[in-house]
């Protein structure tokens, strides 16, 4: 959900902030009246000409420009006012080459309600957007004008000019105008960022996703993650079946055969029988080891017994590189969350140990209550960096598994390090047992 986030305001002098807002306002106003209006006219013409056929060839390019223009505003909204405006557009399939592709693309674009809202926004932006953007600048300039009145300008406009509600008739009223101007300037220091915020709120109203579009995007995402979840669980079952078949099952068969041989040999050749019995016993030990590894791969015992925090600590103890673990959890999580988080940590730690060249790893796990509860995991190493999510298949699998829980994985790994992997899973903590 988008929300208004207060811009990170250190105690910057309000004067600087106000001047900055005014300057930004001018820029935005120019964008609104210039780019938005021009794009509105071009777009409307292009869409109208679709009926004549010509428009089908120009519309995709024009609408792409409109989207770029809107995206620029989305970016500015988050950078300047801390207002998040998510993109509402439907995902577009690959475009087919040639005229057919262009026509198809035009129809896809025109079917997206977001396109029509964009066009409406262009018009609103050219009017209301322009006014709100200019406001912060205008108030400041108008204030300055009032002050200038006092310094001579009043002579020029004597008797024929109203400054706000003050008719300038002589020096006395010019001083009044200057005072009002000063008041306006002073006020602008404190309120100058509000017109900008209003500007971006208007933009959010029109180029942010509607409730319908949000639901549509959510359905799209659920559809994808459900597929991933089904795929990966099927692959997991196949792996388990294969491991059982090739491993424990084969060893138990071998044991049965050995025991059969022993039965036949036990009286004729006790020494040989004893030897085979020893083999059978080592088979049983190996079968147990394999079953144990298999169980660890499905649902690690420590995780079942102690939960995520201690399981992560146990994992850290098994790593070849020292891992500093910091866990801040008061309860446990639902099994799928714990399991996905555990395997994600395991994969990330293994990767760090194998590829990063690090000699130290830090693992942080905590749960915060904000935004309905969020499990946050950070793995940092002091290695050489340059890791890439696209390179390994393991990370992709982890991403898919997290995706099924609405979790995300982010990687920051500049060349030269350090590498930091963050995992976030929205979830509630259950009561400690």
């Amino acid at each position: 959900m988008s929300s208004i986030v207060d811009t990170p305001r250190s105690w910057r002098p309000p004067v600087r902030e106000s001047l900055q807002a005014a300057a930004r306002g001018v820029g935005l106003a120019a964008l609104s009246i210039g780019a938005s209006l021009a794009l509105f006219i071009v777009t409307v013409l292009s869409v109208v000409f679709v009926v004549l056929g010509v428009g089908a060839f120009t519309t995709p390019a024009v609408l792409n420009t409109v989207r770029a223009h809107a995206n620029r505003r989305r970016l500015l909204a988050s950078e300047w006012a801390g207002i998040a405006i998510p993109s509402p557009y439907r995902p577009l399939p690959e475009q087919r080459p040639g005229a057919v592709g262009l026509v198809e693309r035009t129809s896809q674009l025109l079917k997206d309600p977001a396109t029509w809202r964009d066009i409406l926004w262009l018009l609103v932006d050219a009017v209301a957007g322009f006014v709100t953007a200019l406001l912060s600048f205008a108030v400041l300039v108008y204030g300055v004008e009032g002050v200038i009145m006092m310094f001579g300008l009043w002579e020029a406009v004597n008797n024929g000019y109203w400054y706000a509600f003050i008719p300038i008739k002589g020096y006395g009223s010019a001083v009044q105008a200057a005072l009002l101007g000063l008041a306006l300037i002073a006020a602008s220091f404190y309120v100058n960022r509000y017109p900008l915020q209003a500007h971006f709120m208007i933009a959010r109203l029109l180029i942010g996703p509607t409730r319908g579009a949000q639901l549509e995007q959510r359905v799209e995402r659920l559809y994808e993650t459900r597929h991933d979840a089904v795929d990966s669980s099927a692959a997991e079952l196949r792996r388990i079946e294969r491991d059982l078949h090739d491993g424990a099952q084969a060893r138990l068969v071998a044991m049965g055969m050995s025991l059969g041989t022993v039965e036949a040999l036990i009286e004729r050749d006790p020494a040989k029988a004893k030897e085979i019995l020893a083999q059978a016993r080592s088979s049983s030990a190996e079968a147990l080891t394999e079953l144990r590894d298999l169980v660890r791969g499905i649902h690690p015992p420590v995780l079942a017994e102690r939960g995520l925090g201690d399981a992560a600590k146990a994992l850290a103890l098994r790593m070849q590189i020292p891992v500093e673990v910091d866990v801040e959890l008061t309860g446990r999580f639902q099994e799928p969350v714990e399991s996905a988080a555990y395997f994600a940590i395991s994969e990330v730690l293994t990767n760090a140990a194998k590829h990063s060249g690090a000699d130290r790893i830090w693992l942080d796990i905590h749960h915060s209550r904000d935004a309905g509860g969020m499990l946050r995991i950070a793995v940092t190493d002091n290695g050489r960096g340059g890791a890439d999510l696209e390179k390994g298949t393991g990370m992709k699998g982890i991403e898919r598994r997290l995706g099924a829980l609405d979790g995300v994985l982010a990687l920051s790994s500049p060349e030269g390090g350090p590498t930091m992997v963050t995992i976030e899973i929205p979830c509630e903590q259950t009561e400690p047992r």
Binding site: R281, A285, L288, P301, E305, A314, L317, R318, Q320, R433
Partner: protein, 215 residues
């Protein structure tokens, strides 16, 4: 010697009872869940407890928790913990008080009756019995650490067996060397791990602890 046994699988519990009785242990109680284990440990004051990590009703690490709790109430109470899998984390928790009289073994070790019984006896007399799997993990990890790098391969072998809780005689027998040679190796190891010489019987436990705490 009186034993309290806690294991929820009937077959294994029955087998353990038979085996322990065959080696002339007295079974004070054989229970199948956490609360009963706690009660038995408090009321019967056994010489040693043999406990499964995972017990009803929670089927988490209830057995381990009961054992640790009982050791807090009666320090030094010998406890041998059995588990389907072994974790260094649990080994650390068991060894944490430095009192000795603890063991942590895979359930499969029961198959080797002699060795298992030897482990129970060692724990009962205040020694340790650590599963080779735990120790191997440690050795392979510590192999990169500096104090370990200084150990010769023979000393590493001795360290491994010592960390499991074996006596010098047992180590000598297993490695086909004399007891004197083992004694020489162990004193070298204590030196290299910077453990000051003392007469304390628990120095071997301390060696394992130092080993666990390094890094």
């Amino acid at each position: 010697m009186r034993v309290v046994l806690a294991e929820d699988l009937f077959l294994l519990r029955d087998g353990l009872v038979r085996m322990l009785e065959a080696y002339e242990f007295e079974i004070a109680a054989a229970v199948d869940n956490g609360p009963e284990l706690t009660r038995a440990l408090e009321e019967l004051q056994p010489d040693v407890a043999v406990v499964d990590v995972r017990l009803p009703p929670s089927f988490s690490d209830e057995g381990l928790q009961c054992a640790l709790e009982a050791r807090r109430k009666r320090p030094g109470l010998p406890v041998l913990v059995l588990s389907q899998h072994v974790e260094q984390l649990y080994a650390r928790e068991l060894l944490a008080d430095g009192n000795g009289g603890v063991g942590y073994l895979l359930k499969d070790r029961v198959f080797e009756a002699e060795q298992f019984i030897d482990g129970v006896r060692r724990v009962a007399s205040g020694g340790t019995a650590m599963d080779p799997q735990v120790i191997q993990q440690l050795v392979s990890r510590r192999a990169q650490d500096k104090p370990m790098a200084n150990l010769t391969s023979r000393e590493k072998e001795v360290m491994e067996l010592m960390a499991q809780g074996r006596s010098n005689a047992a180590i000598a027998q297993q490695l086909f060397i004399t007891e004197r040679a083992v004694a020489k190796h162990t004193s070298n190891i204590f030196g290299k791990l910077r453990l000051p010489p003392s007469d304390d019987d628990n120095r071997r436990v301390l060696a394992v602890l130092a080993y666990l705490d390094q890094g």
